[in-house]
Amino acid sequence: MTDHYRPQSEDEARDVIRQALETGMALSVIGGNTRSGLGNCVAADAELCSTGLCGVVDYEPGEMVMTARTGTPLFEIEAALSANNQMLAFEPVDHRGMMGTQGEPTIGGVFLSNASGPRRLSAGAARDSLLGLRFVNGRGEAIRAGGRVMKNVTGLDLVKLLAGSHGTLGFVTEVTFRVLPRPETQATIVLYGFDDATATNAMAAAMAQPADVSGAAHIPRASAASLSGVLGEDTAITALRLEGLSASVAVRATSLAARLSAFAPTVTVDAAESARLWRAIRDVAPFQTFQDRPLWRVSVAPTAGHRLVAALRQKAEADALYDWQGGLVWLQMNGEPQADVLRRTIAAIGGGHATLMRASAAQRVAISAFEPQPVAIAALSARIKAKLDPAEIFSPGRMAPDIRKTMQIAGMRG
């Protein structure tokens, strides 16, 4: 791959894409490239990069809505929001640590990978915050989808379709999203020493309380050990976060702690320590050290997470970290990725999906990064892709339902 296109405007992007269409050139669509390892290997002739499309276009703090060009660095967005005491509700994950990448994440990359952190549990995913976007489709046409208001059911929701499409359906040039007021304070209730099953019960009990828990995670002992600096205990940590007005957080913390005392004594940590802990959970700090160990991100029903891990451990050695009340399982494998075993186990415990986040080049070629879909859904997805990108110019193979197809494409392009 030699060529690198970095259009400075939507018009320039259309020119590049039309040229690609004419010459049969496949484009690998990238932003800050901090998530370049996400998805299957892409067979492309050139890179199409969003970082030339930079800057906040419109920000109305009073309306809690921002529009930005997709290549805008995330830190710029967050700085602008911070200055107005606002934030992205879904707590975007920073993938650099776990994926061993460098560079600056872009706001486009965040939405295109639906990169949602711990607050996804209570405030929705990145896709839930996304209100509208502009993109150039595979025909070189500029398309607008959605809008800039919270409630909008006018026509088909292409916004959701494009969110999390990893650049395979179009080159998104601009995103409009909802933001939320930053909570006045936060506190985290911590329970120590639980095994995974007990922790799952405790988290479910907490979520059944009217306490507005905005984060529920469990870090088993083996994973907590590498959480150096945060909480600093050599034992499992089960964490429940409360956010809001100071008076309200204090009241909720007391009543939730009282409820959970049936499980074990609780400790309530203050705002600063709480923030550090949730950042570590969000970015999967415990699994950043051993870059040579395969890393999976698994989404299952909350109570199925620990059962999945227990069943998997019959066959393979793995460390786990649970977020989203136990339903988001980060799995670091001590050895092979064990894709087949993992995916069979997920199916057996009631379904979900596993995404390969980190693996060696050889492993990535052999394993489908995204959960393989049932035939009917894969066929439907392929038909949809063909309606947006008929000539398959955008990141061919990245979300391909069948890894062999990717390899064929790669082979064809030599």
Binding site: K151, H353, E371, Q373
Partner: protein, 479 residues
């Protein structure tokens, strides 16, 4: 005077085969699952957009996903249009049939299949009513958040069709934010399952695409929805203002101050009078505009939030602030609000608009709405979800007077143009249906619409599912 809204011309080949189609479908749906006598078809001739009505060819009432699949497969092979239907409470004509179409009604699929409190999900059949989910999980301390005013009647399938919202969506989001999975049948009879009890999807977000697709992509037969723990307490508070302008400005300031109550509902003088006469909710009658702001949580939380809201309201010259003193009173306040459409329907015919506008434009759009309606000699009542800018002007008219009906439709179109020009959209929660179909070009370019329609083709290449809706009839691309 505007033209009546057109449907696609009926397919002559389908109409001429009516008897055979009925016989064939009857075999697929034993136990009276096929309705075809003219008299029995009448209840299906329209929905809550009653200005338009036509009898369908037949009505299929399947009991299982397999039966839905058999019906769709048959209709697909025989080129018969299908109009999915829940409770028929659509306000935009989304469920209105056409003479060559089979209505596929989900009313016999109304079971709650599974309640899983630990994972906070409920799995239900598509024909289950919205309210019955909250009623089922309520005793355990949970609820299903999206609460359209029609929740007693409307179905989850219809809610998914329209991505419905409700008064409490300001905090909890609309249907798409509370939907985890569906089982649905594509037009060719293929049964697919999207999502489940887990979060987010492995591939493209097809669930997000299906939600709000107005029965055009497939027929939903089952849904997995998220249920939430009920707040410790909730308290609606009435804020009366002299004018709509002050009330609108207060809403923008509350949100702008970073306060997000569970609900901020708005009523103007006209609406207050109509609702009070009907529900006797104790709304103040001397004010020009009313906000119902609901806060929830512990006593301390509610107090803290209310204090902040009251301070802002005072800056906008609030005339009365009244907290509900009991659960009964709180229920009455909501009853008044939720019966707004029904109460209006008792005094006049009305059409209900549904545009959403940025909060900063609320006052402006309210004023334009008033000007447009009075300019045409029509009365208008405004009652809507102000916190998210989702307006519902109710334009009153006399359906027996065709000239006035046409004026009402024209006023509605004018108002929606104002919404789009203000940076908003045509419909916030009621959907496009037939009502706003021909206005889609106000909001989207032809390229935007072509892209949406192309995606629609990926699901239903023969354009058989609810074919007269959502997209302007002219300018549809060839398959």
């Amino acid at each position: 005077m505007s033209q009546p809204i057109a449907f696609l011309p009926p397919r002559a080949d389908v109409l001429s085969q009516r008897e055979r189609i009925i016989a064939d479908l009857g075999r697929l749906l034993p136990d009276g699952g096929l309705v075809h006598e003219a008299r029995e078809l009448v209840p299906f001739e329209t929905d809550a957009y009653v200005a338009y009505r036509q009898l369908p060819l037949a009505v299929a009432l399947p009991r299982t996903t397999q039966e839905v699949s058999a019906v769709l497969d048959y209709c697909n092979r025989n080129g018969v249009p299908v109009v999915p239907r829940g409770a028929g409470t659509s306000l935009c004509g989304g469920a209105i049939p056409q003479p060559d179409a089979v209505v596929l009604g989900l009313s016999r699929m109304s079971a709650i299949l599974e309640v899983d409190l630990e994972n906070r999900v409920a799995r239900v059949q598509a024909g289950v009513t919205n309210l019955s989910i909250s009623e089922t999980v309520g005793p355990e301390g949970f609820f299903y958040a999206p609460d359209p005013s029609s929740q007693l009647a409307c179905t989850i399938g219809g809610n998914i069709g329209m991505n419905s919202g409700g008064a409490h969506c300001l905090k909890y989001g609309v249907t798409t934010n509370n939907l985890l999975g569906v089982t649905m049948v594509l037009m060719d009879g293929t049964i697919i399952t999207l999502g489940g009890s887990h979060l987010d999807s492995a591939g493209y977000d097809l669930l997000g695409l299906v939600c709000g697709s107005e029965g055009q992509l497939g027929v939903v037969t089952e849904a997995t929805v998220r249920i939430l723990a009920k707040a410790e307490g909730a308290r609606p508070v009435l804020f009366g203002f002299a004018t709509s302008h002050e009330a609108g400005a207060c809403v923008a300031d509350v949100i702008g101050a970073g306060i997000i109550p569970v609900a901020i509902e708005f009523m103007d003088k006209q609406a207050i009078e109509i609702c009070e006469a009907f529900a006797k909710a104790g709304y103040p009658l001397h004010v020009g505009a009313l906000l119902i702001i609901e806060v929830e949580g512990s006593e301390a939380e509610m107090e803290a939030m209310l204090a902040a809201i009251v301070a802002i309201a005072r800056r906008h010259g609030v005339m009365t602030v009244r907290e509900s003193q009991s659960a009964t009173e709180a229920a009455l306040i909501w009853k008044g609000r939720k019966s707004a459409f029904g109460a209006t329907g008792r005094i006049a015919d009305y059409i209900c608009m549904d545009g959403t506008v940025p909060l900063g434009k609320l006052s402006h759009v309210l004023q334009r709405t008033e000007e447009i309606c009075t300019g045409l000699g029509l009365r208008v009542a405004n009652v809507f979800h102000a916190g998210d800018g989702n307006m519902h002007p109710l334009i009153l008219f006399d359906a027996n007077d065709p000239a006035e009906a046409a004026k009402a439709e024209a006023a509605g179109n004018e108002i929606l143009k104002v919404c789009v020009e203000a940076g908003g959209c045509l419909t916030g929660e009621h959907g496009v249906g037939i009502e706003k179909r021909d206005l889609m070009r106000f909001q989207f370019s032809q390229a935007d619409l072509d892209q949406q329609m192309a995606v629609r083709y990926a699901f239903d290449a023969g354009w058989l599912l609810n074919p007269s809706k959502v997209f302007p009839l002219e300018g549809r691309p060839a398959a």
